[in-house]
Amino acid sequence: MSIVSFLLIIFTSLFFTGIVIRTKSIFSGRKGPGFFQPLKDIRRLFRKGAVYSKTTSFIFQIAPSIYFASVLMAIFMVPFGNQPGIISFQGDFIFFAYALALGKFFIIISALDTGSSFEGMGASREALYSLLVEPAFFILMGSFALLTGHTSFYEIFGSLHFGSYISYGEGTLAAIVLVFIALIENSRMPVDDPKTHLELTMVHEVMILDNSGFDLGLILYSTNLKFAMYGALIANFFLTPGYEWYYSLPIFIGVQIVFAVIVGTVESFMARFRMNHNPQYIFMLTSISLLIFIGVLILKKFV
């Protein structure tokens, strides 16, 4: 029973978007909004009431809460180096993926519930992209389960043999794939532009057009939480084994900051892809994780 990873993820989620926005404004030479501006926005939204359209049903009203709860549920399972998450059991990475998928499913049907044609289009894109991301995540986690012989996040990360260059190499490749997965799952730059103003080109933003007030605040804060959660997963590949928190804590914070800076850099220097280029880009992640899988097969002398 360990609450440390949960607390750390909540803590880093407060700063994550701020770092991304600061990076973007530094690269574009602007003064930019303050470090805590995203948090202030969310706090302002939390103090407002929500407005519901008359064409929507109860699904539209419960969906943001379920989305937020599913992200929190997934965070419960993320370990911190040698310490398990709040919930930890055999095969919890499958539950992790499907808890996130449940939240996404509710956001999708709530977008369909509004009856707007734009939102249905965004929902279909979002469904396609998360469908394409899923095999990459499962092949990645499956190959690490094969490498270590364990089937829960905590045991996999606890028993990765650090110190040998092979596991560092595999960990680096996996971290790269996870960065891309996080960018796609959070609808960030190469796949989706959070700052776009045209409904036709939106993916995630168009789905939450009708949400307002408290619900919108929940959805925005879930994005921060998801970023910090994936950052924690990435950091787990580099944490030292054992309980030396004075090594683990700086590595964790450092990986989160580097991840946020990478997100900001990608958003500053890359244009978004054309819509029809996105599926092949996401499929590339599956191919790379297949390579990791083949590498694990060769390393473990299964073939």
């Binding site: 092979i166 190499g169 092949q280 499929f283 590339m284 297949l290 390579l291 083949i294 060769i298 390393l299």
Partner: protein
């Protein structure tokens, strides 16, 4: 270490499947040259220095610097458009390249030979077939040359796979092969560019004597 380098080599092959600008093809070829140098340097660490210098010349000087520079020169001189113009959509390309890698993995698995480095064999076979695939599905002559260079890289990895000794003669043969092919195809592309302005392979079938 070689496992990681060859995995990165395979990642560059996957990237070739989706890249749609000629400049990214050229940079992928240059990166492959660096990776091949790394692999050869680690594998052939105990050979004499003459051979080592030769491999350095072949991978770094030729594959990484000279050939990409020459290809860039051809593209600029002939004003070739920067798209690679494949016949098939990119999504199918990447699925096929992934299938090629898996198939070569299964094939190398079926071969039981103690002298064969398995990971080398996987990387080289997939580079060979990916090169062939690029040649078949791209429309321009210059991309055919690039596909041929990918095949050459595959052959280079294969020669590392069959054992630690790579005789000088094989080296010279590979070097001459690359040099002649790129040089001749460059001249060929230049001449066609002078006469026909467009470098579409489709138009070559209209030629009559």
């Amino acid at each position: 270490m070689t496992v990681i380098l060859l995995a990165i080599f395979a990642v560059t092959l996957i990237y070739l499947g989706v890249a749609n600008r000629l400049s990214s093809y050229i940079s992928v070829l240059a990166v492959q040259g660096v990776i091949l140098f790394g692999v050869a340097f680690i594998e052939l660490i105990e050979i004499n220095w003459v051979n080592l210098v030769f491999i350095l010349l072949e991978t770094i000087v030729f594959k990484t610097i000279a050939i990409p520079y020459f290809l860039k020169y051809i593209i600029e001189r002939n004003k070739i458009t920067r798209d690679s113009e494949p016949f098939l959509p990119d999504f199918i390309s990447i699925v096929i390249v992934t299938a090629i890698i898996i198939a070569s993995f299964l094939l190398s698995n079926a071969i039981e030979d103690p002298h064969l480095g398995k990971i080398f064999f996987v990387a080289s076979l997939s580079a060979l077939f990916t090169g062939l695939y690029i040649i078949v599905t791209r429309r321009k002559i210059i991309t055919h040359v690039m596909g041929f260079l990918v095949i050459e890289n595959g052959v280079f990895v294969l020669s590392l796979a069959v054992g630690n000794e790579m005789p000088m003669l094989v080296n010279i043969g590979i070097l001459l092969d690359i040099f002649a092919s790129v040089f001749l195809l460059g001249i060929f592309a230049n001449k066609i560019g002078d006469i026909m302005k467009e470098q579409d392979v489709e138009q070559l079938s209209n030629l009559k004597d």
